[in-house]
């Protein structure tokens, strides 16, 4: 009895093995896995949309959009293991933990899989290259340009930042100050700190309006600060006089754009990010080499150049205004 079960089991398995051979051979598309921090997050759903766009453009590319249920490294490792098992051609990952997923990704590379990270990076040993959404210099320039675009006659601008010790914001502001001479007529009068607290940012914005009656724009390179400044400007009845701009989330900023307090603002575009990551993964899996100084084409986004750590910046932050805010406000 037992033996018969065993025999039929073996028969079943060998039959399965036979079937597998055929279905595996039908597979000649390049398969690129887009691994995200967790499924069900608007930002990543949008990135997947961009990946599909890239796949359609490239042809013969199948995108596997996957990730764990919650944002854990262990969950991502299980996903990576199953992708290694499927023998995908490339993995493009936004990591939950730069260290913990590295051993699993190293194993993927040993089995000949192209591995890149995007958005949230992996340690150098665990990936071939990393795609940053933008760079310090590009962000610094963009936030200043957004203000200058709506000030044809020049005038005073002020910066409302997060805390005085915030590394990111300080770097962006320094980069903006560096390119200030490129924008003649723009006068940066003050930099204040709202500590990424809504009420403190609101009061700092009020203070700016009181101290500088001729102020034309407030630049807030923080999602909390930009929203609080927009509120302060609206409450003071200065919509149209003072333009609030900087870095914000479309879902939070839709109201400000509708009221006119904000002409435009910027943040990375997840669709472009997913698109570029897929383009790069495809290029590397097709033979391009990731090494410092290498230039890799990213389709409609142009190209990226790798730095000493094999990292690259995608582009200027994407600008959102009345024309496209409705499309993005539901995404992230």
């Amino acid at each position: 009895m037992k033996r018969r079960i065993f025999t039929s089991m073996v028969a079943g398995m060998s039959l399965a093995a036979g079937l597998m051979g055929t279905s595996a051979m039908a597979q000649d598309n390049m398969r690129i896995a887009l691994v995200v921090k967790a499924l069900g997050i608007g930002f990543f759903e949008a990135a997947a949309e961009g990946a599909e766009e890239a796949a359609a453009e490239l042809g013969n590319v199948e995108v596997i959009y996957t990730g764990p249920t919650d944002t854990t490294a262990e969950g991502q490792i299980e996903v990576i293991n199953s992708l290694i098992a499927q023998g995908v051609d490339a993995i493009a990952i936004s990591a939950n933990d730069p260290d913990a997923v590295a051993p699993a990704l190293k194993r993927a590379m040993q089995r000949g899989i192209t591995v890149i990270s995007w958005d949230s990076g992996v340690n150098e040993e665990g990936r071939m290259m990393h795609l940053n959404p933008s760079s310090t210099a590009l962000i610094g320039n963009t936030i200043l340009k957004l203000a200058a675009d709506h000030m044809p006659d020049g005038g005073q601008v002020a910066i409302l930042s997060a805390s005085a010790t915030a590394t990111n914001q300080n770097a962006w502001i320094a980069a903006a100050e560096e390119v200030l001479p490129n924008y003649p007529g723009i006068d940066l009068v003050a930099t204040v700190y709202g500590d990424d607290l809504s009420d403190k940012s609101y009061r700092e914005a009020q203070g700016l309006m009181a101290s500088y009656p001729d102020l034309k724009a407030i630049i807030a390179p923080t999602t909390v600060g930009i929203l609080a400044s927009c509120q302060a400007v609206s409450d003071a009845g200065k919509i149209g006089e003072i333009n609030v701009t900087g870095l914000g989330l479309p879902s939070e900023m839709a109201g400000c754009v509708a009221s006119g307090a904000t002409e435009s603002f910027a943040i990375w575009n997840p669709i472009d990010l997913g698109y570029s990551a897929t383009m790069i993964a495809h290029a590397l899996a097709s033979g391009a080499v990731a090494e410092p100084g290498a230039e890799i084409s990213t389709g409609r986004m142009g190209s990226v150049t790798l730095d000493d750590t094999n990292s690259a910046a995608m582009s200027d932050p994407f600008t959102y205004d009345a024309s496209n805010i409705d499309q993005f406000k539901d995404i992230f």
Binding site: A16, A17, A24, A73, N81, A85
Partner: protein, 327 residues
């Protein structure tokens, strides 16, 4: 009432019949059918390396599940196991920063596990507190300490020979973790099914007062069981930390429920008093096969959780329904 009737049947089943109708046989059939279904649905399933990778989905959890099975059979539970992993891993990470080598790290991992187990054990056996309450408390406490120590930081820089525990292979595709898993399974099989201690565990689970009056030192046995659970959490912490090559306070988050699921799926009564180690071994494979098989089809994780939940309810409910329908 029905239980007492079933306990004294008018005709004893033959050993073969009993074995065929056992929980373990049913579970084994489930495992085999999942294996066959997986082979048909994914062309990548039947591959030695892939099957080897699959075992990493459950080996660490299963190590703890064996100790947890004994604890649940004795009528207690430990929900702090995943947090013990976090604390043990944090302690090892801190030790790495001051330059302690692999043997020291292993000792620290096991030591912290034992200490946490002892802490739980003292609270339950000496203070007479319910284990579910105590371990829900220590679940927050142990992981809380890790969060205080690490915040949003990570410990890394583990020595390269430390990587063997979670990433090493003993022979071809047979990983060190799989060997350790098998070894621990055998040890727990012997403890539970071949020793007086194992008989005492069943006795306590069925009737703690009766066990006490029969001369079993109930508190001491329970204390040892908590120690064992802590120790196995330490072992799992070593393997997982080695596999991740880093420590963050969120390590092994939510594992306690997966481990309890594994134990219950393995046929251990959540009310205590019954269950077998082979059942837990098969349950570990069932869970590994299901998650890996669905992973190969790129099924989203949330659907996987639903399938595991349905499997648990299904496997437990079906035999009961079958019994009802026949009587």
């Amino acid at each position: 009432m029905t239980d007492t009737i079933r306990a004294i049947p008018d005709r004893l089943q033959s050993p073969l019949e009993r074995r065929l109708k056992s929980w373990e046989t049913l579970l084994f059939a489930v495992a085999v059918s999942i294996f066959i279904v997986n082979s048909f649905t994914s062309p990548y399933f039947l591959n030695a390396w892939n099957l080897s990778d699959m075992t990493f989905n459950f080996t660490e959890k299963a190590m703890i599940a064996f100790a947890m099975a004994l604890l649940i059979i004795a009528g207690e539970i430990d929900l702090s196991v995943a947090s013990i992993i976090a604390l043990a891993s944090t302690a090892m990470g801190a030790a790495v920063q001051v330059g302690i080598g692999t043997p020291g790290l292993v000792a620290i991992g096991l030591g912290v596990g034992l200490l946490c187990g002892a802490f739980n054990g003292v609270l339950v056996t000496r203070m007479g507190l319910p284990s579910i309450v105590v371990t829900i408390g220590t679940m927050s406490l142990f992981r809380g300490i890790s969060y205080i120590v690490l915040g949003d930081q990570a410990y890394r820089g583990y020595p390269s020979d430390f990587a063997f525990f979670g990433q090493g292979y003993v022979f071809w595709v047979i990983s060190f973790e799989l060997v350790l898993f098998a070894l621990i399974a055998v040890i727990y099989f012997v403890i539970l099914h071949k020793t007086n201690f194992g008989r005492a565990v069943y006795a306590i689970g069925n009737n703690p007062v009766g066990a006490e009056f029969s001369g079993i030192r109930v508190a001491r046995v329970k204390f040892i069981l908590f120690l064992l659970t802590g120790l196995m959490s330490g072992v799992a912490a070593i393997c997982l930390t080695s596999r991740l090559a880093s420590t963050r306070p969120s390590i092994a988050f939510g594992w306690e429920l997966e481990i309890v699921t594994m134990v219950v799926l393995g046929g251990v009564s959540i009310l205590g008093g019954s269950g077998l180690i082979p059942g837990v071994v098969i349950a570990a494979f069932v869970m590994g096969l299901v998650t890996f098989g669905l992973g190969l089809l790129n099924v989203p994780g949330i659907v996987m959780s639903i399938v595991i939940g349905a499997l648990l309810i299904g496997v437990i409910a079906l035999p009961r329904l079958w019994d009802k329908w026949r009587s």
